[in-house]
Symmetry: C2
Subunit: 474 residues, 2 copies
């Protein structure tokens, strides 16, 4: 297995655009820092006005590159930013998707610098959102700015959709997409919210996992009970919950919910060989993660287990006393957030039903147990030989000097399925972050070299996609 | 099974004392309300000065009834109140123990009235601490005040020890007792921190359970991990914790820690017959507790399971995301507070060792698991035919008109074992609260009729104990 090597710096692209890029490097970096200073944390109501500010910022930049019909569309929650650069009559139309919302900053005490005081140092951007996903959104804007400065138009028609709810399910966009089919008429969707492979190897993501997120509530009594007076005579809801949770997944990493694996798309020998050929260093991955040992699903490699196989996790568990010292109670209730990562063809709703039925079945007597659906999204799988995927591969090769690897990503971008299933459009996932960028953790960072390379790949991608066979363009 | 019936109001005792009691009823109630207005929550550092205020309040009342050597003894944490009324040369000496600290008020939103604005209405005192244990401490003071008003001295020598750390392990008192053997020289200890049986049946507690309280910590990684990126490749610490917890106790209520039951004092057929004869209504108990069903230890009745058998509970469990909605993380770590209630002859230290070893054994790979001792106390068992127990029974019979039942209490008063094992003194548990008094929950209450009866029982108890065979009096 040989690791692809690429040029230390991105190859130059179109000379005029390259000249524009060379003279605007500092401005491009400053644009990202300015954007990342807006604390657009979508899950925290106190940031509602920051969400609007971030949307307006992106809309203003779109107007600045000559986009038309630019609109900050109000929704029940956070705005959707829409705009078009349709200057290539007869050429394919591309929907470009990024998101401007960011993860919360907790645990704040583990940040080495203030999360919303981003900076560029030693060729690294550091701050909440610089990688996920503001850096990628800014690269799209920067690519257009450079093309404009060089007097060029994109060779394809571009329709921009930037949303503010990606970090918790994209609900507004899910409502908006089917109601706006005409505004989204296109041939292909380019989503920039993924990244390169381990070791910063240029990559195209061909599969995303879906998600089904639920909560299990175990209720014993109206109030906490004294553990001396009642201990031994009532079911303990935290122990009952532990029994339920322990029944969900075996120590072999296999999910024990009956039917869970029914619709899993099988991995072919070729798929497995392709994954085995990827430059994935398990021990380096373990060390970077800081865990004592990796634990995958029995019968599958670690890489397969975390990207191409479905799995189940507890995202949170709580009940009773959590302070220092001791409180002698039997908790009145106990709770767990439980989510599954799904692969293509698994239905979140069906998996939830199976979970709910199984929990009812394994729940002990003496407590009341309920299982509630929180959100879900389907996984996706794009063929590597799709013309749009191949166009992206050529753009990456041109800039990076190597062919990209094709990878499966363990995370979810739920809206991918909406573009795919609702609009019937092929989706290409082209992104430039590094896998260890702390996207959902403290000290998020983004490599400025990748930022520069990605900006050039995007410029080149519009040229490559111009030759795409036409689909449903309206 | 016939339930003992008692007089609607306590029988009168010594006429002079009764006359004094009759004229001081309102003052007695006001004393309790005044005491209960001091928010002496021992586990919360912000109440440190309230702890001192409560200790000083009790010391002042002791001085008021002519106690000598009254002292508010500073400790590393909360003061111990000491005082003596030794006016019966040659008579036995009795150590009287109560505590002036109270439980925290959480969950505050479930209180119908302010916890530290206590009141008396419809013959119920309501407020934090009115039952546990300020009401009982005030009864002791009120009994002495009435005797003084009637011109009487107690027929025994009384040594008072009131502490402020009962609600979390009595650590200061545990240090102080062995260092003050001479100040505690006595024939018997009377602890007033227990109550009547279900249905307000007069009772003497002959057994208390001990406790071993520990914490289990499961560590995965330095920070939370993205559940998409890592899900399937690392052990989930909340699931690992669930597996450990589920292994501690079976659905049959049996603790599965090897050796856990080794030193359990056996229940004889006579013990079991005595317990079966108690007027315990399981369904009424279930309804009052508000649980869907009672769950005891296989092979034992509910009453046996919650008072005469050891058990294990999770007092709290936590890890990861606990908010509304969803956060897609694998928690960095997860934790549980685990405690066992022990019966006489079980050693908390030995049980902790067995727990720690078992947890190590069942802990899955891929996480780091540690088990830490928090506190412990031994159980106790007093023979029903002990002369001091019988003296208490006669006092109760005189006031209540019925013989008390002998009961085992599921809770712990760890200092009982210190008086018993360290000083070698018999301990009689004489208390007057009702089992459903919400002692550790919102809306704590205490029946004023029991308060009146208990005050009279205490007056009579000193007479009954005067005839106690002398032990180690110094």
């Amino acid at each position: 297995m040989t690791e692809p090597t690429r040029n230390p710096e991105p190859n130059p692209i179109d000379p005029a655009v390259e000249a524009a890029l060379a003279s605007s490097r500092a401005a491009r970096a400053e644009a990202l820092l300015e954007f990342a200073r807006i604390p657009s944390v979508s899950t925290q109501p106190e940031h509602a006005s920051d969400m609007v500010a971030a949307a307006e910022w992106a809309a203003a930049r779109l107007r600045g590159v000559g986009a038309t019909e630019v609109e900050v569309i109000r929704t029940d929650l956070h705005p959707i930013v829409y705009g078009k650069i349709h200057e290539a009559p007869g050429a394919p139309t591309v929907v470009v998707y990024c998101h401007y919302d960011v993860q919360p900053v907790d645990p704040i005490d583990l940040w080495e610098t203030a999360p919303f005081v981003p900076f560029l140092r030693d060729r690294r951007f550091v701050g909440r959102g610089v990688a996920d996903d503001k850096g990628q959104l800014v690269m799209h804007l920067a690519a257009l700015e450079a093309m404009r400065a060089a007097g060029r138009s994109p060779a394809v028609n571009l329709t921009f959709v930037f949303e503010g709810e990606e970090e918790f399910g994209s609900e507004s966009l899910f409502h908006w997409i089917p109601q706006n089919r005409d505004r989204l008429a296109a041939d292909v969707v380019v989503i920039s919210d993924t990244g390169y492979f381990e070791g910063n190897v240029p990559a195209i993501t061909v599969a995303l996992r879906g998600i089904m997120y639920a909560q299990i509530d175990v209720e014993l009594s109206p109030v906490d009970l004294h553990s001396g007076m009642y201990g031994g005579s009532v079911e303990n809801p935290a122990i009952a919950l532990a029994r339920i949770v322990a029944a969900l997944k075996g120590p072999d990493g296999r999910v024990r919910i009956p039917g869970f694996y029914d619709d899993v798309v099988p991995l072919t020998d070729a798929d497995r060989a392709e994954m085995a050929a990827l430059p994935f260093d398990e021990e380096a991955f373990r060390v970077a993660t800081g865990v004592p040992a990796l634990v995958g699903e029995a019968g599958w490699t670690i890489l397969e287990s975390r990207t191409a196989r479905p799995t189940l996790d507890v995202n949170g568990i709580w009940g009773g006393f959590q302070g220092d010292g001791a409180k002698t109670i039997i908790p009145a209730h106990a709770h767990a957030k439980v989510s599954t990562r799904l692969v293509a063809d698994q239905s979140p709703q069906k998996v939830f039903g199976a979970l709910r039925d199984y929990v009812s079945q394994v729940a002990p007597p003496g407590v009341k147990v309920t299982t509630t659906y929180i959100h879900g999204g389907e996984g996706s799988l794009t063929p590597t030989d799709h013309p749009a995927t191949q166009a992206a591969a050529r753009a990456i090769r041109a800039v990076e000097g190597v062919d990209p690897v094709y990878i499966r990503e363990g995370g979810s971008i739920p809206v991918t399925a909406a573009f795919d299933h609702v609009l019937g459009l092929p989706v290409v996932l082209v992104g430039f972050t590094q896998p260890n960028d702390n996207a959902h953790a403290p000290n998020e960072w983004f490599d400025e070299r990748n930022f520069e390379a990605g900006t050039r790949v995007i410029v080149r991608l519009w040229d490559e996609l111009a030759a795409l066979p036409r689909g449903t363009e309206g």
